[in-house]
């Protein structure tokens, strides 16, 4: 077990400055940090590709679209738990789009284990939820622009995210175009 200290800070200028004007009439400087107990650390640099028509289609380079970064249930059980105890079982995730090429965006899908009740069935859960489909019309693809999409967020080149994740599903990534590299760090909660 060890300690890590994440710190996030925001700065913005007032809206009256001529360069990089901020969203408010005043400048903002904010910073927050925390000390977190963790054990296992995992780090990967993942080369992402765009989907080409199916959920896990290999490209000629052997890369996979809608690539599963993290299988929540598998990771959790590997660490010895099969119960999603809130606040105790989980991890901290850092993701960054390492590309610097415009439009080489990366779509991230946090796919929940939970299936809401349908019109003819009740609410259920699955240890192996279905991942995003390919970019065909009317699917769950991260590229879809209606409410069927399984896309949670988009990382433009240089953008990053930091969030806890309780292993309550799977995380997928897919490129909009090109092969942008996704930096991925996971720290398991101790």
């Amino acid at each position: 077990m060890g300690k890590i200290t994440p710190t996030i800070s925001f700065t913005s200028n007032s809206d009256s400055v001529t360069t990089n004007a901020g969203p408010n009439s005043f400048a903002v400087v904010a910073s927050i940090s925390d000390s977190l107990s963790v054990d296992l650390m995992e780090q990967r640099l993942i080369e992402t590709i765009a989907g080409t028509g199916s959920a896990a289609q290999s490209s000629s380079a052997g890369l996979i679209a809608s690539h599963k970064i993290l299988d929540g249930h598998d990771v959790m059980t590997a660490a010895g738990s099969d119960v999603w105890t809130p606040g105790t079982v989980g991890c901290y995730i850092f993701l960054r789009n390492n590309s610097s090429t415009t439009n080489e965006n990366i779509y991230i899908s946090i796919v929940s284990n939970s299936n809401p009740a349908g019109s003819s069935d009740g609410i259920t859960g699955s240890d192996d939820p279905v991942g995003p489909a390919g970019p065909d019309a009317n699917t769950t693809s991260p590229t879809e622009t209606d409410n069927k999409t399984l896309r949670t967020f988009t990382l433009l080149p240089g953008e990053f995210a930091w969030f806890p994740f309780d292993y309550t599903g799977d995380i997928y990534c897919e490129a909009a175009t090109g092969t942008p590299a996704l930096e991925y760090w996971r720290w398991d909660k101790a």
Binding site: G2, K3, I4, T5, T7, I8, S9, F10, S12, N13, A21, G22, P23, N24, I32, L36, D39, M41, W84, T85, P86, G87, G90, T102, N103, N105, Y107, I110, S112, N113, S114, P116, A117, S119, S120, I123, T124, G125, S126, P129, P142, T145, D146, N147, K148, T149, L150, R151, T152, T154, L155, G158, E159, F160, A161, W162, F163, P164, D166, T168
Partner: protein, 171 residues
């Protein structure tokens, strides 16, 4: 339109350090930042009890479209900062998708996804839970969000806690 600059830094001591030892045999010091174009800023500190609170309604904020962001301006989506500002109780966050997974039904989507309830409560411990993450007191998250669904919060205990959020709409 305006610009904000988020920076994240992560540090850890060596595992051999006597105070706050890190998880690795080497010390870590990582930092990255970005300049983001935003327009509307929304911020609030919300009191959260054991009944799930609808923190953010994606379709209402995003105008009912899940258009993905591109390198162009006027992208649909946001940057979201969440922090448990309480000192005693954890808060559970559910990023509830607008996508409705097919059981025996035809796959659909909805602008008003079902709130966490019963077995899908954010505090539930089975795979039915709609909980995405837990924020212990003082913990925070920073993530983009494409408005594809809703965000709910629920406290672990009836003593309740407070949750601060900042939503920066992509410019």
């Amino acid at each position: 339109m305006a610009t904000i600059k988020p920076t994240i830094t992560l540090t850890a001591n060596k595992s051999s350090a006597t105070s706050n030892p890190g998880p690795l045999s080497v010390a870590l010091s990582l930092s990255t930042n970005d300049l983001l174009t935003v327009d509307t800023v929304q911020s609030e500190i919300v009191s959260v009890g054991t009944t799930p609170v609808l923190l953010l309604d994606g379709s209402a904020i995003g105008g009912g479209t899940e258009t993905k962001s591109t390198g162009a301006t006027n992208g649909v989506g946001s940057f979201l900062y969440l922090k448990n500002t309480g000192t005693a109780k954890a808060v559970y966050i559910g990023v509830v998708p607008s996508h409705v997974a097919a059981n025996s039904d035809t796959m659909t989507g909805t602008d008003t996804p079902t709130a966490p309830t019963g077995a899908s409560l954010l505090s539930a411990e089975t795979n039915v839970t709609l909980r995405t993450m837990s924020l212990r007191p003082g913990e925070f998250a920073w993530l983009p969000w494409d408005y594809a669904g809703d965000i709910y919060a629920e406290c672990e205990h009836s003593d309740a806690t407070t949750l601060e959020y900042w939503l920066f709409d992509r410019g």
